[in-house]
Symmetry: C2
Subunit: 341 residues, 2 copies
């Protein structure tokens, strides 16, 4: 049976052997080199070890290894403005050009004025109007091209870099470490699902089908040339924050995660839901306490910060009470970004 | 580098070599043994060859290899009643026991009467009422347990077998053949997403996260013991038939399939959308023309069958016009079920 293919077999065997040696050597190196030793790093490493060691009583079979990650503030920088929102603001002039009646209508007038203080005061219903105007009425292909174009040109005001270069290197290492150990990694974030899909594969190694975000409906139809198109509709299917996160996980994954990572009250329910499963579960919060290298906000500031959508003192207390791991960016991360040497 | 692990390396090399030989030998055997030679089988084999051969100009990179399958009538028997609907009917007595006011209310009264002719006349709004009553108001865990219980006991009236033993063996071979060639296989079907998730991994090798179905919302909350639960809500997020299929594909996958399989007008848009993509695309319809071994319905009968949800003459004509492949169950399939020898 083997004889006619011996050459191929020998070659394959040599390649496999070489690969195994590299794999073996890698197994002895630090999978999280951008992390300082401490309880946070230890919790992640211990979780992976205990759930993937076949002799462990807490072994999790590969098909059940699911890990979910919030994006804004957990995988990349969310200050001063969440990038998805910045995209919507940046799109307003083009939308107003197509629909001139918006130019003198609020909240578009405020966005077009460029008055930062006034923009910062926009309410949630205002932001929803902006989202509907900038995220619907175009085909999925057109939207993808627009986001690509925006990402290629938009720059963060502090680092003057594209937003997708401002991902946290220690979290990139966690993503790769989990995947190398058979975990399927998902983003579960308040950002738009189709927005994140444009860059997530290249930026995080996470494919479109593993992106759970705030989901708008689409409408199937036919373009001018008769070819089928999907047009983004002004219809909200899932608001992927707070309770929407476990609901989105059920919708898109249908299994409870083994590990979940977040950084704000928007992630509270995802972490509760994850941690409530049987067996070993990892729930992690990123605390932004490094004003020098990134930003400091939430309980690290000792402020009476009770606003939902941020890392409140109540969330910090719940984390401590519930056995969640809190990452101190200042103490647990050796470096924040890949471009820091 | 290699020395301390030499024994492991040698062992791995031998295992790999053995595996490659088996792989090589398998490559020469027929991947679709339950199929007769003919244009349908040839179309499937040729599609896989041309999209996975790295030297082919039509090569598709592994991450883009997506294949979608309707379930009812494409992967398993849908006559005399679609199994999901049968589940709902079978659940009515238990629901009416909990809510006695339903016993004398239509359409529940008709279902409880057992009068098959009257049940067959129930309208779509009637069926929706039954779906809402039987598929919501319970937690996702309770629902899973109920479907498992139903599947273990319900039997098809003709073959007296569990419904998930009535899958088409030739299609099971296509699923495995595609996966062996790097394709990710999805179900995209009108059945309930959470219903199919209960058995699809065991029945088809398709995990919960690759099930696109008709999707109902869930509501996150806390049970009596304070633990987080997701309760199935009477809220329709996606009606996964007709235009809902490409819309559901965008929602759950975010990429256009390379291959799609269906059997009725409910699959028309999925096949159009798939076929409209650039490069090689495979669109396939199963024609039920075998009254002896299974059922015959649709244009095979020469009937003026224009009812949506079935394989109409218009769909057959569109398939011929658009280069879709039509499988004749009678002529293309050597056997229908795994239990036939």
């Amino acid at each position: 049976m083997c004889r006619p293919r011996m050459n191929r077999c020998v070659l394959a065997a040599v390649v496999c052997a070489a690969w195994c040696c590299v794999g073996g050597a890698q197994g002895q190196t630090d999978p999280l080199p951008s992390w300082n030793d401490g309880p946070a790093k230890q919790a992640v490493v211990e979780f992976v070890r205990t759930t993937t060691d076949a002799s462990s009583p807490q072994f999790v079979p590969p098909e059940k290894r699911i890990a979910t990650f919030d994006q804004d503030g957990t995988l990349w920088v969310e200050k001063p403005v969440v990038p998805q929102l910045k995209y919507c603001f940046d799109r307003v002039p083009a939308v107003a050009k197509k629909k001139p009646e918006l130019k003198n209508a609020e909240p578009f007038k405020t966005v077009l004025s460029g008055d930062r203080a006034a923009i910062a005061r926009l309410t949630m219903p205002d932001l929803e109007k902006i989202a509907v105007a900038t995220l619907s009425g175009i085909t999925t292909d057109e939207y993808q091209a627009e986001v690509e174009q925006w990402l290629a040109t938009a720059r963060h005001p502090r680092w003057k870099k594209p937003y997708n270069e401002l991902t946290y290197q220690p979290m990139q290492e966690v993503l790769r470490y989990l995947r190398a150990n058979g975990y399927k990694t998902y983003i579960v974030s308040g950002g738009g699902q189709d927005f994140m899909r444009v860059y997530a594969e290249q930026t995080y190694g996470i494919p479109p089908e593993q992106i759970v975000g705030t989901i708008g409906g689409t409408k199937y139809g036919y373009g001018k040339d008769g070819r089928p198109v999907l047009t983004k509709a002004p219809k909200l299917l899932l608001n992927d924050v707070e309770a929407g996160k476990p609901e989105g996980i059920q919708l898109m994954i249908g299994r409870r995660p083994c590990a979940a990572f977040g950084n704000s009250t928007g992630d509270r329910q995802m972490l509760e839901y994850t941690k409530a499963g049987a067996g070993p579960r990892l729930a992690v919060l990123v605390l932004h306490d490094d004003a020098t290298r990134e930003y400091a906000y939430g309980p690290a500031q000792g402020l009476p910060d009770t606003k939902e959508g941020t890392f409140t003192q109540a969330l910090y207390d719940q984390a401590k009470r519930s056995g969640w791991t809190v990452i101190s960016m200042k103490n647990d991360w050796k470096r924040i970004f890949a471009f820091e040497q």
